[in-house]
Amino acid sequence: MQKIVNVLGISLRYQSDDGEIPAIADLSMDVAEGEFLSIVGPSGCGKSTLLSVLAGLLQPDAGQVLLRGDPITGPHPAVGLMPQRDALLPWRTVRSNVLLGQDVSHSRSREAEAYADALLSAYGLSGFAQKYPSELSGGMRQRAALIRTLATQPALLLLDEPFSSLDYQTRITVAADIHRIIKQQQKTAVMVTHDLSEALSVSDRILVLSRRPASVKRIFVSDFGPDVPPLARREHPAFAAAFEQLWRELDVHV
């Protein structure tokens, strides 16, 4: 399949007065067009760092990241980031938050607004367009944050623990909801998570990272079938075994 991202042997060390921290060491991976890839790994292993590199916010010390064949040198319009807490600006209405990307790139046009409005109504937020984020529930805020990311029409979505601020029950339904929207929009998604069952329920592939400095330890390919939605996967007979296997691979207890 066509690759949208190629990560070729990147390394990254954080420099500070106290010394340097190797965060990523000789990591190679790729992301196929249209796939949902999850990244799991021990806490502090460098997952967010890897995502920042993909977003063009950090440059690796060595190696290269290609986006559809071209090296990433900075933030790119084809890449959209969805942060952990929704990061909706509290003084902007939901609609105006969704159009933030257009305000940044000075590309707020009638078409852009129409597209944003269409997304809002397609995903049940048109009634809340003129409300402020504080008036929305956690799940709705997360959906608004996703729509904000989609509104700039990126090909690749980067999600850093997008559901960790939600309580457990909301999280399962919101994850299914977000997964459905991303698949419907035919976007490629790379999601960092520390919730293994979440990773199993939404991903086509799961990348297991080693402890810091991060490198690829293993890649899991989902065998639930491509069109099985997250909630059905959780019910799937093979789910528990897959979870067990992933858990072992993570090696958290050592």
């Binding site: 920042s52 977003a55 063009g56 916010l57 900075g74 933030p75 790119h76 319009p77 890449v79 959209g80 980031l81 942060p83 952990q84 807490r85 990061a87 600006l89 003084w91 902007r92 933030l100 990307g101 305000d103 940044v104 790139s105 700039t152 980067l158």
Partner: protein
């Protein structure tokens, strides 16, 4: 269950009545305190317990204010001081916010200037009075500078610290969207820290009064500060007290004005 006005529970009715009584009592006590103070002052003066020539009295203050109102000398003084103060805090807040923005823009400049700002902040600004007079002359300019000297550095430090405390996740989001520094400032840092700027405005009202009156003590030929100094020099305590009273009222009114402005600003700028 919602509580409509028609079906209040007895407990709710009792609670509401108690609240009303309490509010009334507080209002009454507030008024009584002021009236008692004025009455006590007036009586003490009339009965000769205190020397009304030195301590003045409410009726004498009222008479002094009335006299100045009639001969038209009060209004120009009041206007001068209020204008100077307004100019002082508007300028202090705008300039302070601008400098804070520049420091946010350049972390290098911020690190270089931080110790100097802290030292300047600790300096008692009154000490600058004579310096300012020598530099710009004994006029309105000196008064404005005095007001600025007092409010500017605090504003810079306060606003700069709040600019720097901007949510990192929102910063990351905007950077990932390809926003440059100017864009981040315009879309995130400034609107996000509007409350801090308005807070600086509130603090600056108070500080500007201090600066302006201090300046008027030192240099001026008009204004309430001048009235107070003049009164004390010719030993007219009624005039001095009238000045203090007018100052209190003007400051309170201006503060209310800022609170109103805050509501309008928050609603419209964002």
């Amino acid at each position: 269950m919602s509580m409509s006005d028609t079906s209040l529970s007895p407990a709710r009715t009792r609670w509401l009545a108690a609240q009303r009584r309490r509010r009334g009592l507080i209002l009454f006590a507030k008024a009584a305190l002021l009236l008692g103070f004025l009455l006590g002052w007036e009586l003490s003066a009339r009965l000769g317990w205190i020397d009304a020539f030195i301590m003045s009295s409410p009726s004498r203050i009222a008479a002094a204010i009335w006299r100045m109102t009639c001969d038209g000398s009060l209004f120009p003084h009041l206007l001068t001081t209020c204008a100077e103060t307004a100019a002082g805090f508007v300028l202090g807040t705008l300039l302070g916010t601008l400098i804070a923005a520049l420091l946010w823009w350049s972390p290098f400049a911020a690190q270089v200037l931080e110790p100097y700002l802290v030292i300047l902040n600790a300096l008692p600004k009154v000490a600058l009075g004579p310096v300012i007079i020598v530099w710009v002359g004994a006029g309105p300019k000196a008064i404005l500078l005095m007001a600025l000297a007092i409010s500017l550095i605090v504003t810079v430090l306060e606003v700069f610290h709040s600019f720097n405390a901007t949510d990192t996740e929102m910063l990351t989001l905007l950077r990932a969207m390809g926003a440059g520094k100017l864009c981040i400032f315009r879309l995130l840092v400034l609107p996000g820290n509007l409350p801090a700027v308005i807070n600086a405005l509130k603090v600056n009202v108070g500080l500007s009064w201090v600066g302006v009156i201090m300046g008027e003590f030192l240099v001026s030929k008009a204004g309430i500060g001048y009235l107070i100094v003049y009164g004390s020099q010719v030993f007219q305590m009624d005039l001095v007290m009238a000045g203090v009273l007018l100052l209190t009222c003007a400051a309170a009114l201006m503060y209310r004005g800022i609170v109103l402005l805050e509501k309008v600003l928050i609603r419209h700028i964002r």
